[in-house]
C-alpha cells in the first residue's frame, strides 16, 4: 500500500499484514508490521474498516436517538457509553436526576465493567494460547448478560438509558440475580488467578514486555487500566465523580510497573473493586421515580458541554456543541481505545510477534470504539 516505506527498507526487514482478519486483532483492525525476523520494528495501524461516522450521524439525530448509536461504539461497555451521553444532556439541561436512577446506573455500569473484563480475560488467555480461559470467562459473563436481558431486554446493545433517566424500571428479579452473581463470581474469580495469573508460562510471557512509563502514558492520553498500570491515577470515577460514585468507597487500582502483566493485574483487581461497589449499592437502591420528566423534543441551550465517564476501557469523553436546536451542532466522542491504540507502536517495538499479541490483548482494544 505504501511505496515510500518499501524504499527505506533495510535488507533484513519485511512487512507483514496483521489483519483485517486476524485472530489477535479482535475485529477488523489492520496492523502493518515491519519485522526483522521475529522482532517488531514498526507497527502502523490502518483503521476505518468499520467506520460508520457516528459523529456525523449524531449531527442529524435527536438526543434520544444518539444514545442508541453509542451502543455500537464500545459494545462491551454500551451502558456506560449511553450513560455518558445522557449525563451530558442532563447536565446541559440542568435536570435533577432521581437518586434511584443514579444508583441503578452505577450498578449496571459496574456489572458492565465486570462483563467486559471477564470477556477480556477469556480472550486474553486465548491470545496467549490458553484456550480454556475463554469458556470460563464467558460462563461468568453469561450470568451478567442474563441480568441485563431480564431488565433491559437486550444483552449487549442495551439502550437502557434515556436523557433524564432510565427507559423502564429494573426488573423485580434484578436484585436477586445480581446477588446470585456476586456470590458465584466471588468463588470463580480466585480461579482466574490459579489458572492463569500465577501460571509460570503466563507470567514469563507477560512480565517486562510492553513497558509504558507514566510520562508516556499521560502524553499518549492512556486511560483506564492501561494508564493505571503505569502508575497514572486517571480514574474518572475518582477525579470527576458522576452518578452514584461519590456515595461508595472503592480503591483506584494503581500499579507502577507499566508492563503487560501490570495491566493484566489492574483489570483482575478492578473486578474485585467493581464487586465491592455493587455490593455497597445493591441493598440500598432508593425508591422513587426512574426518570426525570423531559420534553419530548430535547433542545440543549446554546453552548458547549463536555462529560467524561470511565468505561471498561478508560476515559470516554462526550463533547457536544449545541446551537440551541434539537440536534447537536457537533458531537465528538473521545474514545479510550483510540488513544490506547496510538501508543501501540511505542510499546510494541523491539518485542517479538508473540509479545505484540500479548501487549495488544492487554490494551483491550475494541475496534468499533476506535473506528466509531
Amino acid at each position: 500500500m505504501d511505496t515510500t516505506i518499501t524504499n527505506n527498507f533495510k535488507s533484513e526487514e519485511y512487512q507483514i499484514n496483521m489483519g483485517p482478519q486476524h485472530p489477535a486483532t479482535h475485529g477488523v483492525l489492520r496492523l502493518l508490521l515491519t519485522i526483522d525476523g521475529e522482532i517488531i520494528k514498526r507497527v502502523e495501524p490502518d483503521l476505518g474498516y468499520i467506520h460508520r461516522s457516528i459523529e456525523k450521524m449524531c449531527e442529524r439525530d435527536s438526543y434520544q436517538q444518539i444514545v442508541h448509536l453509542t451502543d455500537r461504539m464500545d459494545y462491551l461497555s454500551s451502558h456506560i457509553n449511553n450513560e455518558a451521553v445522557c449525563l451530558t444532556v442532563e447536565n446541559a439541561l440542568q435536570l435533577e436526576i432521581p437518586e434511584r436512577v443514579k444508583v441503578i446506573r452505577t450498578i449496571i455500569a459496574e456489572l458492565t465493567r465486570i462483563a467486559s473484563h471477564t470477556l477480556w480475560w477469556g480472550v486474553m488467555g486465548m491470545d496467549v494460547g490458553a484456550l480454556t480461559t475463554y469458556f470460563y470467562g464467558f460462563r461468568d459473563r453469561e450470568m451478567i448478560n442474563d441480568i441485563f436481558e431480564e431488565t433491559c431486554g437486550a444483552r449487549l446493545t442495551m439502550n437502557y438509558n434515556i436523557p433524564g433517566g432510565l427507559m423502564f424500571d429494573i426488573h423485580p428479579n434484578f436484585v436477586k440475580r445480581t446477588k446470585e452473581f456476586i456470590a458465584h463470581f466471588k468463588t470463580k474469580l480466585p480461579e482466574y488467578d490459579l489458572l492463569l495469573s500465577n501460571n509460570i508460562i503466563f507470567r514469563k510471557r507477560m512480565e517486562g514486555i510492553g513497558i509504558l512509563t507514566k510520562e508516556d502514558a499521560i502524553s499518549f492520553g492512556a486511560s483506564g487500566p492501561v494508564g493505571r498500570a503505569s502508575g497514572y491515577s486517571c480514574d474518572v470515577r475518582k477525579h470527576h465523580s458522576y452518578s452514584a460514585y461519590d456515595k461508595v468507597t472503592f480503591n483506584e487500582i494503581l500499579k507502577t510497573e507499566g508492563d503487560t502483566y501490570a495491566r493484566y493485574q489492574v483489570r483482575i483487581l478492578e473486578m474485585w473493586e467493581s464487586l465491592s461497589i455493587i455490593e455497597q449499592l445493591i441493598d440500598n437502591i432508593p425508591e422513587g421515580e426512574f426518570f426525570a420528566k423531559t420534553n419530548t423534543v430535547i433542545k440543549l441551550p446554546e453552548g458547549e458541554y463536555y462529560q467524561k465517564v470511565e468505561t471498561a476501557r478508560g476515559e470516554l469523553g462526550v463533547y457536544i456543541v449545541s446551537t440551541g436546536t434539537k440536534n447537536p451542532y457537533r458531537m465528538k466522542f473521545r474514545s479510550p481505545g483510540f488513544s490506547n491504540l496510538s501508543l501501540l507502536n511505542h510499546i510494541a517495538v523491539g518485542g517479538k510477534i508473540g509479545d505484540l499479541v500479548a501487549t495488544m490483548a492487554t490494551l483491550d482494544l475494541v475496534i468499533p470504539d476506535i473506528d466509531r
Binding site: 483503521l47 456525523k56 442529524r60 499521560i218 502524553s219 441551550p301 463536555y306 457537533r330 496510538s342
Partner: protein
C-alpha cells in the same frame, strides 16, 4: 488553580497584548476557553505544558470543528498534577487550504487525533510526522465532517 487565576497567569505571559490576541471566555462552557491565533498556537501550547504552574500534561480531547465560516481545532487540556482543565480553540478562515501547527511533539496522543482531524476536516498540520488519512481511503473525495460536505448516496438526511 481557579479559572480566574489561570486567566491572569496566561495573560501575564504575553508581553505585548496587541500583537498576540488571546480571547478568554467562560460563557456557555464549563471550562475556561482560550481562543488563539494559529500563529501563536504552538508557542502557547508549549508554555501551557512546560510551565510548572499550569503544567497541562494531559490532552484529553482534540476535536476538529467546522464553525460554518471557520475551520478549527478544540483542545481540551488537563493537568494531572493540579487537576485543572482548560480549553484552547484555534480557528482559521482558510477553507481551501487550512493549515495549523501540530502539537504532537508536545502531547504524543495528538498524532492520531490530528490525523483524524485531517481525515474528516482537511486541516493540515505543519510538521506532523505522518499526516495521512487515518480512517478513509487515500482516494476519498472531500472531508465528510465538514458542514458543506455532500454525499447523496451514502448520507441520509432527515
Amino acid at each position: 488553580m481557579t479559572n480566574e487565576a489561570l486567566q491572569n497567569l496566561i495573560s501575564s505571559w504575553i508581553p505585548d497584548p496587541i500583537a498576540i490576541e488571546l480571547e478568554f471566555t467562560e460563557e456557555k462552557s464549563q471550562f475556561l476557553n482560550i481562543t488563539v491565533q494559529p500563529e501563536q498556537l504552538h508557542q502557547l501550547m508549549t508554555q501551557l505544558k512546560s510551565n510548572p504552574d499550569t503544567n497541562f500534561d494531559y490532552l484529553f480531547c482534540l476535536t476538529g470543528m467546522d464553525w460554518g465560516k471557520e475551520l478549527g481545532v478544540v483542545y481540551h487540556l488537563e493537568s494531572t498534577t493540579h487537576r485543572h482543565q482548560i480549553v484552547v480553540k484555534v480557528k482559521t478562515e482558510d477553507r481551501e487550504n487550512p493549515t495549523l501547527d501540530t502539537v504532537c511533539k508536545i502531547w504524543y496522543t495528538a498524532e492520531f487525533h490530528e490525523r483524524e482531524v485531517f481525515d474528516f476536516f482537511g486541516i493540515k498540520f505543519n510538521n506532523h510526522p505522518n499526516l495521512k488519512r487515518l480512517f478513509l481511503t487515500e482516494e476519498w473525495d472531500g472531508f465528510p465532517l465538514r458542514k458543506d460536505y455532500v454525499d447523496e448516496i451514502n448520507m441520509v438526511i432527515k
